[in-house]
């Protein structure tokens, strides 16, 4: 009988320090929320966090809570409460899981970090619609619930060239946040502090980029399933020195692994690119599935979303406007296709997986004919899997397994 092979996954040492960082981060937020010693801003994952940090806020990102609900596989139990309130099962399942958790008075933070009872109550909610409209609705819900102000930046979507007009507009909007934030925080805006935070954020972004690029090595030292969690500090800690230090450490570890040819996936035979979000509740299962087939999913659009190369401490407002508009998710399909093609070349990819996440059209790039266009452009075969980031009712494990196995068989045949 054909037996399922036991898959040994390689440990990344720095992940322990990353874990400690996340723990400190949540306890600090919890202390601020319970004692009132610091103001708390909620921010979207690619929102204007540098400004918030420079204004003295501790910054909390509900999307990471959504991802936690997903990875702890508690999201699916929470979502129905939000659906019953009129938030459709078809919209962002980060939103519905998070709102559902709020309604159920539940947070996975309590189990992960004993003593934390709830998510930290916000003093202000700050969004950027660069990623989607859902974040605005999501924050509007909490603005009503907590009776706190919600402010934000409205960015164009499907942007081709990031023109000066767009940058001017977004930069003005970010500047426009200063006054309300001064009122809410009680702190005066300090340009030097702002520049320092933007500089640190850029350094964090540069390190993270280098970390991801270590996977160009053959064999690759890390998987997408590792980087999906290793990116935590780049999301919640950018703009701090400790995040920069952590990525310095991670970079050194991965460079060392690459030099020693330490493979993340034993006998790496297939190099896979992942487009779209992870299926958080199946991170480990998918990691094992691919590793068992000697396939390393080693590069992704998603993890590269926290690279902000345009950030420039000497021109903080405009460079933030540019950096947060230049992102993949904000751009036109033409741009996206070239971007993916570059990644395929850089990482020497054999096959592409598109995750069509039922509730996030914004991160599912396979819906407007791109799959066939990229295939034509690159000659690299691809597979689309249906699933979701959090809502496990949209995930069929058996179908995913069959599709992935069949896809790797196909790549194997092509390699001859």
């Amino acid at each position: 009988m054909a037996e399922e092979k036991k898959v040994v996954r390689k440990v990344i040492q720095t992940s322990k320090d990353m874990g400690r960082f996340m723990k400190d981060y949540y306890y600090e937020l919890n202390e601020a929320a319970t004692t009132g010693n610091r103001k708390i801003a909620w921010c979207t994952s690619v929102g204007p966090t540098e400004l918030l940090r420079a204004m003295g806020f501790l910054v909390y990102f509900p999307e990471t809570h959504g991802a936690m609900l997903g990875s702890t596989r508690t999201a699916t139990d929470m979502i129905p409460a939000a659906n019953a309130l009129g938030y459709s099962p078809e919209i962002c399942s980060y939103l519905t899981a998070d709102v559902g958790a709020y309604l159920n008075k539940f947070t996975p933070l309590s189990k992960a970090y004993p003593g934390i009872e709830t998510v930290p109550k916000p003093d202000v909610l700050v969004f950027n619609t660069n990623q989607c409209r859902d974040v605005q609705d999501w924050f509007a819900y909490y603005a009503r619930e907590y009776n706190v102000p919600v402010i934000g930046v409205y960015t164009n979507r499907s942007v081709g060239d990031v023109t000066e007009t767009i940058v001017d507009d977004v930069a003005k909007q970010i500047e426009g946040l200063v006054k309300p934030l001064e009122e809410i925080s009680g702190n005066r805006f300090d340009m030097d502090k702002f520049k320092e935070v933007v500089g640190l954020s850029r350094r964090c972004s540069d390190r993270w980029k280098e970390v991801l690029e270590t996977n160009a090595a053959k064999p690759a030292p890390m998987t997408f399933f590792d980087s999906s969690t290793l990116m935590g500090p780049a999301v919640v800690g950018r703009g701090t020195q400790v995040a920069v230090d952590l990525y310095d450490q991670l970079l050194a570890e991965l460079k060392d692994k690459a030099a020693k040819r330490e493979a993340a996936v034993e006998d790496e035979k297939f190099r896979i690119y992942w487009d779209g979000m992870p299926v958080w509740g199946r991170l480990s299962a998918h990691s094992k599935l691919f590793a068992g087939l000697k396939a390393n999913v080693l590069s992704s659009t998603y993890c590269s979303s926290w690279i902000f190369t345009a950030l420039d401490a000497d021109d903080p407002f405009r460079s933030m406007a540019r950096a947060y508009t230049e992102l993949f998710i904000v751009r036109s399909d033409d741009y996206k296709e070239t971007y993916i093609k570059d990644k395929l070349d850089f990482f020497d990819i054999d096959g592409i997986i598109y995750h069509d996440a039922r509730t996030c059209p914004n991160n599912s790039n396979c819906r407007y004919g791109m799959v066939k266009r990229v295939e034509k452009l690159s000659g690299i075969p691809s597979l689309t899997i249906d699933g979701d980031l959090c809502d496990m009712r949209c995930v069929s494990d058996e179908q995913t397994k069959t599709k992935v196995e069949a896809f790797i068989e196909q790549l194997d045949e092509l390699k001859g």
Binding site: M1, A2, E4, D386, Q399, T402, K403, E409, Q410, E413
Partner: protein, 257 residues
């Protein structure tokens, strides 16, 4: 001593199929049963029947490959292969040139494209929805209160096909009820259901020049092939034993082992 045979077991979500091939790649035995709840037991039952049809015993099995959703539940197979690979192999055996295979199964549909060399270039499986699969027709036969086996003849009798527009099985069910209420003939509704199955499958992917149709649903409802030919405007090939394409492909892999 009896001849050596090669076995392919396709443990599908609805039916389990076993094909027994001799070394010259002829199908000499086959059997099919509902997969039921005990996959292992059903596989053994099919194997016994197929071997008996082939006139050989267990000791004649030189190699066996399992495929289908329940492939890892088969204890007597040497290895497993996905049903995508096996369907491709089974069809290429009969049509050894570039083909697009449309497989309509009980729970899922596939479109598999093979190159002139028989290499797979692309495949698609339906999304997590029963629309367009055998399960859809089973559900509708219940609603119409006619046996599943009678669907094909009914569809052929239709003179004025009912158009069903819905995407999902539940909505289609409501549409069917509405048509019954309006006094539409059962034959016309069944043809409408067949048409919607074909439409759902064809919207999964584009097709290359030569098209092959397989699967249990096609085996039992050959009129689906006529309808598909009409829609795409060219001839569609159907291999011998279309329900067994996956099992035959698995047995062919066993021969190659």
């Amino acid at each position: 001593m009896s001849q050596s045979v090669y076995v392919g077991i396709d443990l599908g979500a609805s039916r389990t199929k076993v094909a027994v091939l001799d070394a010259a790649k002829n199908v000499i035995g086959r059997a099919v049963h509902n997969s039921g709840t005990d996959y292992g037991q059903t596989a053994e039952l099919c194997l016994k029947e197929a071997l008996s049809m082939a006139g050989v015993g267990m000791d004649a099995i030189a190699a066996g490959i399992a495929t289908g959703y329940g492939r890892s539940n088969v204890t007597f197979a040497n290895a497993t292969k996905t049903e995508i690979a096996c369907h491709g192999k089974g069809c290429f055996h009969y049509f050894p040139h570039a083909i697009s295979i449309i497989d309509i199964g009980g729970q899922d549909n596939k479109i598999i494209k093979l190159s002139d060399a028989g290499l797979r270039t692309e495949f698609k499986m339906n999304r997590k929805c029963a629309a367009g699969t055998g399960a859809f027709l089973e559900e509708m036969s219940l609603r119409l209160n006619i046996p599943l086996e009678a669907m094909n003849d009914n569809a052929k009798k239709s003179t004025d096909m009912v158009k069903l527009g819905s995407y999902c099985t539940v909505f289609s069910g409501t549409e069917v009820l509405e048509n019954i209420r309006h006094g539409k003939k059962v034959a016309d509704i069944v043809k409408g259901l067949f048409f919607s199955v074909i439409k759902r499958v064809l919207e999964m992917d584009s097709l290359t020049e030569n098209v092959v149709m397989t699967g249990g649903v096609v085996a039992h409802n050959p009129y689906l092939v006529d309808m598909a030919e009409e829609i795409i405007g060219r001839k569609i090939e159907v291999p011998p034993y279309p329900q067994f394409s996956g099992a035959i492909g698995a047995a062919l892999f066993a021969i190659n082992q």
